[in-house]
Amino acid sequence: MTSGDGSVDRSHTRPVTDALKLTDVRRRFGRSIALDGLSLSVRQGEIYGFLGRNGAGKTTTLRILTGVLHADAGTVEVLGQQVRRVPVELKRRIGTVSQEQHFYPWMTGDELGRFVSGFYPKWDQQEFLRLAKLLDVPLGKRSLELSGGTRTKLGLALALSPRPDLLLLDEPTTGLDPVARREFNDLVKVIVKERGCTAFLSSHLVDEVQQVAHRVGIIHAGKMRIEGDVPQLLASVRRIRRGPPPVLAPPAPPPINPTQSAPPPVELGPAPAEGFVPVASAPLDVPFPPPGFELVRGDVYRATPETWASAVFPPGTEIDSLNLEDVFLAFARTDAVATAA
């Protein structure tokens, strides 16, 4: 799955079944709306990057998926079962690593392993020991004495040892140093590849998600704004720059050789800057935006890759490819802040 340069191999075979499927899920806390018709699907065997700003609804979604909360409306399917609240039987097939590890401070890693193992029939003690060794977690120390990063790694070892079908990761690497973050993410990638399980990674760290995830969903204000494979996402969302009006070239001098072909009637303005996609020449009166395009924010538009390929733009228009962070910003940044900036 991982190519030689460390990026994700996104050409893996994807089973058709969804490990997670949320349809029009709503959840409110008093007057505050946390999820406002969220829909998403996570396919079995993939790492799904769930991107969103703080307060976008990521943790609420995770808490619904871990069975801590239930949805007010909408349907939630976890590992093929439609549930109102994730039952205990299903929880046994789910491993969870949270942003903060609320372990019993007096328990050692070893004791935590023994305690947690009692709740999972499929607990693999050898695997726990292996993972703890691999992640360099000292099992003899009390969790109180462990650093934040080591506690998170211990959380991952605890979550993976029951060999779960679904791994829920709620901003697990927040606060970790780059090395620990890389170790954590590498292990997740390896485990997903080896075991064929599914990982749902909530984060607001775009680079991390881009490195790890096969597919990405961007949530904002409790709604899914866009979801898809990363390349597909980048092909769907681009910036359109409308350049200066085209300059009419002076009439060409009469050919010395009357047999020479005539020059084109219109020449496009300044040469496209590096990285810009040159646009085919088009009549001046083409509509903007072309049909099938949806304005995301500012000059960022969204359309299917096919629509992008076939669209005709006015002369002088330049198309800018975006990276995942730009896409995330386009969907998650509020207009008010953008205006102020």
């Binding site: 909360l69 239930h70 205990v88 949270s98 609320h102 372990f103 019993y104 004791e111 009692g118």
Partner: protein
């Protein structure tokens, strides 16, 4: 569930062990005095009243508060175990915890009793069943309180206020009320099953506690208990303190305004005066005629004072003659929940100061009516002075005597000494204190007339405030005097001048000296002389006080009755102790016990 129980045992086992040791020591102490208390399970009964609730409180704190407050329940939330199962496990574990201590205490008590007496198993169960019910009820309440998180202290406070209100205001005898009755003497005697109503009440508390606790743990997807477990905001803290203090204030107000039953002396047929019954229990050495004479004198003063100040009818005024008391000792009898004024004094002794008794009765009537607000420093002089004045109101000889006493007083009057009236009165003693307070009121009457001074007293000695507005609109005594055209400093100055002109100051010279006994121990030697000659009959008073004490009560000092010019205090004091010292002499001319020396000292 097994894992959870093992976890709880590992987490709290050591606390359980420590508690067991402490409870064991406590039980041993209770068993050792078991024979004095009576009842075969008296030790168990005491254990249940004290250690039972403590054990439940500790269990609630460890099992519930710690889990939620430490947020470790968020760790449990993501594990495949339901919230209900966690809560039920904790409840059962806590129940096991308190029952284990209860059953152990019961078994030890049973073993202890069976060494000497026969206790049937049925009787033993008579004690065990209510004990277990009581402990389960305590635990259920602690479980709920634990789930209330940061509000548990408020819960306990309100419960405390409620219990206090039930006992004080509603006059409920708690030990006879379910569920408390369950651990009453019935349990101690262990010869019958507990009453059905006690059992049902206890079961109701257990069920309500359990259900409420489970609802709190599960409802709102556990968010209620989680939210409650956080720290209090400052607004919540202020609200909690206000609610608790407000509750106590309300109960205290209700209690104060409650009509308490009047005290009555069965052996005395009191005289029915227009303001209430007044009676004297003669006792040995006091003839019925003498008693009746005192009743009449007291009645005249009480009736006129009560009517003059518009006080409501009194519950009763009684004097009990008690031969064993010193003639200068006049003690108020505490009546508990009964209303009335009862004094004990040695009426039969020839040196008994009747004026002092009558002054005290009037003083008490006024201070009781104002709920002791008349004792506040700014008006205390008026209370003392008015009460004294009333005892000699129609008695010119009495007034002359008071003036002579005031003149003899070693304590003089100044604005500062009147503002620090309690200290001044204590330094002067009853005889001189009454006299100088009389001088002040006498001077005020000279300036304003009796009616104006009575009006001043009526305004000053009203019932406690009905609401807060009274507090802000209340006028001070000095302010009222000023409104009537009399400056307070001027009044004091005139009273002092009148005092000096009324006679000669006392010529007693009292002294004390500290006599080292070695090892930091010291004794106090008093001496008294007059005109250079030692005085033969007098008293030295001494009392050790805490640094917080500003005065001593009548019964507090130890006394030495001197028969020569010197006398050694009977008690030995240690270096660093703070002593109150005074010398009093029964003065034939002044006809009272005059305090001729008073001092406070810290032993070097």
């Amino acid at each position: 569930m097994r894992r959870l129980v093992l976890k709880e045992l590992k987490e709290h086992g050591w606390v359980l062990a420590v508690l067991f040791v402490l409870f064991g020591l406590g039980l041993a102490g209770l068993l050792s005095r078991d024979d004095e208390d009576g009842g075969r399970f008296a030790a168990l009964q005491s254990f249940l009243w004290t250690f039972g609730p403590v054990g439940a409180l500790v269990a609630g704190n460890r099992l519930v508060v710690r889990e939620y407050g430490g947020k470790t329940q968020l760790f449990l939330e993501v594990l495949p175990i339901s919230r209900l199962r966690v809560a039920v496990t904790k409840w059962l574990f806590g129940l096991g915890w308190v029952w284990l201590s209860g059953v152990t205490a019961w078994a030890v008590n049973l073993w202890w009793q069976r060494r000497n007496t026969i206790v049937s198993w049925e009787d033993a169960l008579h004690a065990l069943v209510p004990a277990l019910l009581w402990l389960a009820a305590c635990w259920s309440l602690c479980f709920v309180a634990g789930l209330l998180g940061r509000h548990r202290l408020l819960f306990w406070s309100l419960l405390g206020v409620s219990v206090y209100a039930l006992e004080e205001v509603a006059q409920l005898e708690l030990r006879a009320t379910p569920p408390f009755h369950l651990v009453s003497d019935v349990l101690s005697a262990a010869n019958d099953w507990p009453a059905a109503v006690d059992v049902l009440t206890c079961v109701a508390i257990i069920v309500v506690g359990l259900v409420t606790g489970l609802v709190l743990a599960v409802a709102g997807e556990g968010s209620i208990a989680s939210a409650l477990s956080g720290r209090m905001t400052s607004r919540e803290r202020i609200l909690s303190v206000t609610v608790v203090l407000g509750g106590f204030a309300l109960v205290a107000t209700l209690n104060r305004n409650r009509d308490r039953p009047a005290f009555a002396l069965e052996s005395v047929k009191p005289t029915e005066s227009p303001v209430g019954p007044i009676g004297v229990l003669p006792g040995e050495g006091v003839s019925p005629e003498q008693a009746q004479g005192l009743v009449e004198r007291v009645a005249v003063e009480v009736v006129t004072l009560v009517k003059a100040l518009d006080f409501p009818r009194l519950a009763g005024v009684y004097v009990v003659s008690q031969r064993g008391l010193d003639p200068d000792v006049i003690l108020r009898v505490p009546l508990g929940e009964k209303d009335g004024v009862v004094y004990r004094a040695n009426l039969a002794d020839s040196r008994f100061d009747e004026l002092n008794l009558r002054y005290r009765i009037l003083h008490t009537i006024i201070s009781d009516h104002t709920a002791d607000r008349a004792l506040e420093e700014d008006r205390h002089w008026l209370l003392d002075g008015l009460a004294t004045y009333w005892t000699v109101r129609g008695d010119s000889e009495g007034r002359a005597m008071l003036r002579r006493r005031a003149a003899a007083s070693p304590v003089s009057l100044s604005v500062e000494s009147v503002h620090r009236w309690s200290e001044t009165f204590e330094a002067a003693g009853d005889c001189f204190g009454m006299a100088i307070s009389f001088t002040l009121v006498d001077a005020a009457i000279d300036e304003l007339g009796e009616a104006a001074v009575i009006e001043l007293a009526k305004q000053t000695f009203r019932k406690p405030h009905k609401d807060l507005r009274d507090f802000f609109t209340e006028r001070s005594v000095e302010g009222q005097l000023h409104e009537k055209g009399l400056d307070f400093a001027q009044l004091v100055s005139r009273a002092e001048a009148a005092r000096r002109n009324s006679g000669a100051p006392t010529d007693y010279r009292g002294k004390y000296e500290l006599v080292s006994q070695g090892g930091g121990q010291q004794k106090v030697r008093f001496s008294l002389e007059r005109d250079g000659a030692p005085v033969m009959r007098w008293r030295g008073l001494s009392a050790s006080t805490g640094p917080w004490q500003s005065g001593v009560s009548d019964s507090e000092p130890t006394r030495v009755d001197a028969r020569s010019g010197e006398a050694m205090a009977p008690a030995t004091y240690t270096s660093g102790e703070r002593l109150f010292l005074a010398i009093e002499v029964d003065d034939a001319e002044l006809k009272c016990s005059a305090r001729v020396m008073q001092a406070w000292t810290v032993l070097p």
